[in-house]
Amino acid sequence: MARYSIGIDLGTTNSAASYFELDRSAARGREQTMLAIPQVTAVGTVEARPLLPSFLYLPNAQEFPAAALGLPWAKTEGSLIVGEFARAHGAKVPARLVSSAKSWLSHAGVDRQSAILPWQAPEDVKRVSPVDASRHYLAHVRSAWDNQFPDTPFAEQDVVLTVPASFDAAARELTLAAAQQAGLPSITLLEEPQAAFYAWTEQMGERFRHYVKPGDVILVVDVGGGTSDFSLIAVTDRAGEVELTRVAVGDHILLGGDNMDLALAYAVNQRLTADGKKLDTWQFNALTFACRQAKEAMFANAKLARAPLVVPGRGSSLIGGTIKAELTRDELTRVLTDGFFPKVPVTEVPKTARSTGLTQMALPYAQDAGVTRHLAAFLTRQARALATAHNVPVKIEGKAFVHPTAVLFNGGVFKSALLKDRVLEVLNQWLTADGGTAIKELEGAELDLAVARGAAYYGWARHGHGLRIRGGTGRAYYVGVETAMPAVPGMEPPVRALCVAPFGMEEGTKADIPPQEFGLVVGEPTRFRFFSSSVRRDDPVGAMLDNPADSDEFEEVAPIESTLPVEAGNEGRLVPVNLQAAVTEVGTLELRCLEKGGPGRWKLELNVRMKE
């Protein structure tokens, strides 16, 4: 029997865990307890910190003295390093450092179950898969818990694990796989922007009803270390009770705070190179760090026109080896505020480089750094989708984009009031131009730890204690069906999309079975192309749509595959099947093949590598 709800924020650059005693009768308010996570912070030193940097270092056998990497729960083990020291030392040995595993987890262009990280590692490094890396972070949190709470083992608690709202079915499935491999048998997935909103409501307590009223549409802007994630939550009234519905989620955008510090460092480095000063990798990292400090200082004090940047040399001569530079206010505004949060009209779309036709092997970073452009695209696309949809709690009524009434910020990037103000300014500019009313900010959010805290709160609220956000899946899913036509050399037959999972499926529900039949050959893998849409809200199961590959309403995701197991003498037999989708209690999508007129039931694998 679980005694605690534990919320884990498995972040791109930092992870954190918060816990909540389930038999509490009231929310924790501002005291949202964080788990202190012991980690190696230097050779021979273990310290507990609330944040566990999501970095994994794969050391060489001779690299460190014996007993230098022991942890309270593993005195002698030292084959892998997770956390602060992994990050710090890995900056000097990048080829052995696994970083941004979460971004790789959502990259369908690679086989996410195979050992591919570190991406540029030399031969002798025993690489790990993106799933393995996530498993190591989770296992570390689990051990930290078990070490501090030996009477209430982690595996027996209610664990809520957060994922970006933009994670597709395959990425969620892989997150679940990582959790299971880390020995967490029962977990629930929760979308990060929702977790941030739960944390805010818990902090506000009953006062929250004062800020949020029926008719409101809350925009959650979550800019983490590596990803930008948007969600819309509608507030409605149902028989006198406030009801919250997550109506839309944005697409997956690999763009975050880390890109911003890097952009500043590149800008400064250009000047240094022009002066004939060359930085090595370690110094460039130090410069990035110095830029972050300077940025924070200048954002905190608007009067500061410039901030000094000093990059120490690697050698023991500190004074002689130090490189001096400075960051000016103009540069900060140009690179960061205008570069990442440009003042653009709501009609401006992000630049994409999708049409190159080449499979990107490295991470598919966002081509356009303008967060506000991505936000504009999200709000306009969703307005078009909601305008024609039935039964939605948001009224569009001819507006050019969804008019949010309040915005909740999340992510360390927004510690800077200047950046929050810029987003508010841009949103208000759009709203005024479209005849809307000014937006307000839901203040008081805890930007770094909100996701873990909100997840723990959700674990408690699920037991009937508090308000829950409804919504179901934020996407509809389709299987690609090749249309029958005479073969034309060099031309792929056109593909149509068969809806198998409608938009908004709730946890623990099954979709209807589409009438279309497929023939699967026993023993041979059958692969289907797979599509998702975050805007087609009304397609019923069985709907057949033309040309998903050419439509911007669909996004092709990793294909799905199934191999019917060989049994006594049935090899090569053609089995007619129907497809059925279900959303598990955990929050993942499952697709099954049901044998037509027979007892056969087979699961389809979601995370197959996309073909090149």
Binding site: T41, V43, A67, Q293, S316, S317, I319, K324
Partner: protein, 173 residues
């Protein structure tokens, strides 16, 4: 539970004495067992006694490059170069100080203010200077408010490591 071994009889002791006389290696083991009655006990080497002090230096070097700074000859450098390096030392060492100890002034009054040092004051916390005469309470002007660590949280460093290594040499391959 401890078992009590009965004391050996006189003859048994005599027999043991002869065995010790005849067997050098047994004699060494007995000598190790007997409490050191003569001479001083073996002291741990100074680096073990002062391991925590060395660990703080290692911490200040790692975060703030303090040892590099102190060991460098500053005479040939301009003030602006020294200033730039001082920023690194300041930022890093400050981080260590803020993270691992809480420092507060001994006296909360502003420096320059007139203060009263009461009878029974702590001579450890307050140092009297100038015209020190007579009996407390004393009246005087606060020159330096002093510092006292109100909490100390330095991390434990593995005892298996040699505390003499303040910073390892770095060899790039």
């Amino acid at each position: 539970m401890q078992t009590t071994i009965p004391e050996p009889s006189f003859f048994a002791r005599l027999k043991l004495a002869f065995r010790v006389l005849g067997d050098a290696s047994l004699a060494r083991e007995v000598a190790l067992l007997a409490p050191a009655t003569e001479g001083t006990p073996v002291e741990p080497p100074p680096e073990k006694t002062h391991a925590s002090g060395l660990a703080v230096l290692a911490l200040l070097q790692r975060e703030g490059r303090l040892i590099d700074f102190l060991k460098e000859d500053v005479s040939g450098f301009s003030d602006s170069d020294i200033g730039a390096a001082a920023r690194i030392v300041h930022a890093g060492s400050r981080k260590v100080v803020e993270q691992y100890i809480t420092l507060e002034p001994v006296l909360k009054d502003a420096e320059g203010a007139n203060v009263t040092v009461p009878a029974g004051f702590s001579a450890e916390r307050i140092r009297l200077t100038g015209n020190v005469a007579g009996q407390p309470p004393f009246r005087g002007s606060l020159k330096h408010h002093g510092w006292v660590a109100t909490s100390v949280r330095f991390p434990a460093v593995s005892e298996a490591l040699d505390p003499r290594v303040i910073a390892p040499a770095e060899v790039e391959l």
